[in-house]
Each structure stands twice: as structure tokens, then as C-alpha cells.
Point group: C2
């Protein structure tokens, strides 16, 4: 396991907590790059909180900013099991995260895949980006969730 | 004053509250379209809350969803003094707002101006969009804020 894999494994634990609560399974971890300390971990809670903005990344960014006492969480790396949606990609850019790592790409709805948001000349911060970390496991969590949900309908 | 102007005037009151608190002045109102009732009003509180996601639109969407008890705030119109950024545009789409109305466009950083997010074939919900409502007043609030801030530096 690489260092990125180890952190993604924690994001996967969060994704499984989401699935267990009937939420689309996405999990997120934010790490303070200088110390390696975990600043925040969270999973999708849209349904539970009746909150369209309660994606894993948003909740983790809010927690990390609270801990830092600053809305700019510079020198941080955000790990998420699924490529961020445009809302979350926008929040990552606003929050000045230095690096974004995801498991599964989202070619249909992803902020990077659809809008190239992290590299776009029209945004004022360009985090380093890496996809495909523990891709197989991240995909499996999603597929299992949607298979079970289809069966129960 | 048109009906849209009247609601934007309330969003402007919110923007002025933001400015008074030292926040970039943006204000937002969400209206339940069938009844005309105001579901939520909010202003930017990024600095106050140490929360990069605390834009006026996000706070208003969260409040409206809480009141509805549903994260999908269908049949709603969102009024905001400044064109939504990509994060907020993403949230508006996720929340299924029916209509988005803004005062001043943001050609450099706006989710519509830069990414055409509300009309993009890659998103699964396309709200009706209208810009330029009470544009002069909305612009003035921003210009006054930034002029004052430059002087105090």
C-alpha cells in the first residue's frame, strides 16, 4: 500500500458508513500535508440531514476549516472515493486545497471530467490532481450500493 | 418595481448586512414559487464562520431545504445579488432550484459566465436563468465595499 492508498482506505471506511445509512457512498479525508495529520473525515449525508450540500467533501472541508480556524485550508490534501461533483470541485478551489486525490472518475457528472475545473484558466487556484487511487475498491463500494438499491425497488 | 425587483431588494438588504460585517457583500433570497413565500434569506459569512462554503446561496439553500424537510427544493426561485460562483451554481443544480435570478454578472469567476453550468449538457438539471435584475444597485454595493477596503489597507 502506498501512502495515498492508506489514506484512501480511510475514505473508503467513510464511504461504507454512508452506504450503511442509505446514502450514496462517498467518503472523504483531508490531511495536513506538513504534519501528515488527518484534519477531517466525513461521508455523504445528503438524505440524513435533508441538505443538498452535505456531500462528503463539503462536510470535510468545513470541519478542516473549523479546526484550522481559517477558511483557507492551504497545505492540505483532500482524498475522496469518487471524483468531486462541480459543487465540491468549486469548494475545493475556494478552500485552496493543495492537492485532490480520488478513486473513481465520474465522466458524466465530475467537476474535472465535465468542466476541467481544477485546471481551467478561469479559476484562480489550481490544485494538483490525481485520480485512480484504489479505484477498484472505490468502484466496488458504489456498484454494490446501486445493485442493492435496484433490487430493493 | 417588478416582482423580481422587490425580491432582489431583500437580497440587497442581505448583501448590505454582509458588508457591515466585513464580508464580501452578496445576499440571497429563495422563494417558494407556488405561494410566493420567502423560504430563506442569507448573506455571505465566509470570514465570520471560518467556512469557505458559507456563501449566501449555500446558506440560503440549506435553510430552504431544512424548512422543506427535503434536500430537493423544487418549485423554488433563487435570487442573488451577484452571479453564483461554480460551487454555488453546482449547489443550485443539485438542489433542483427551478429558477436563478442575479443582479451583477461575474464574467471572470461566475459559474454561468465561465462554465455555462446552468445550460451545460453535462448537468442533469437546467434551471431558468435571468441576470441583470437591479444590476446597478447590486454593482454599487460591491464597488462601495471594495473601494472602502482598498482605502483601509
Amino acid at each position: 500500500m502506498t501512502a495515498d492508498d492508506e489514506i484512501m482506505a480511510i475514505a473508503l471506511e467513510e464511504a461504507r458508513l454512508a452506504a450503511a445509512a442509505g446514502e450514496v457512498p462517498a467518503g472523504c479525508v483531508i490531511v495536513d500535508i506538513p504534519s501528515g495529520e488527518i484534519l477531517a473525515r466525513a461521508h455523504n449525508r445528503t438524505e440524513t440531514l435533508h441538505r443538498p450540500t452535505a456531500h462528503a467533501e463539503i462536510l470535510a472541508i468545513e470541519e478542516a476549516a473549523r479546526r484550522r480556524g481559517n477558511w483557507r485550508i492551504v497545505d492540505s490534501a483532500l482524498y475522496v472515493t469518487k471524483e468531486p461533483c462541480p459543487m465540491c470541485a468549486g469548494a475545493i478551489i475556494l478552500a485552496r486545497c493543495s492537492r485532490v486525490v480520488w478513486g473513481v472518475a465520474d465522466p458524466k457528472r465530475g467537476g474535472a471530467s465535465v468542466f476541467d475545473m481544477f485546471a481551467h484558466p478561469g479559476v484562480n487556484h489550481h490544485p494538483a490532481v490525481q485520480g485512480g487511487v484504489m479505484e477498484k475498491q472505490c468502484l466496488e463500494v458504489l456498484q454494490t450500493f446501486f445493485k442493492t438499491r435496484r433490487k430493493s425497488k
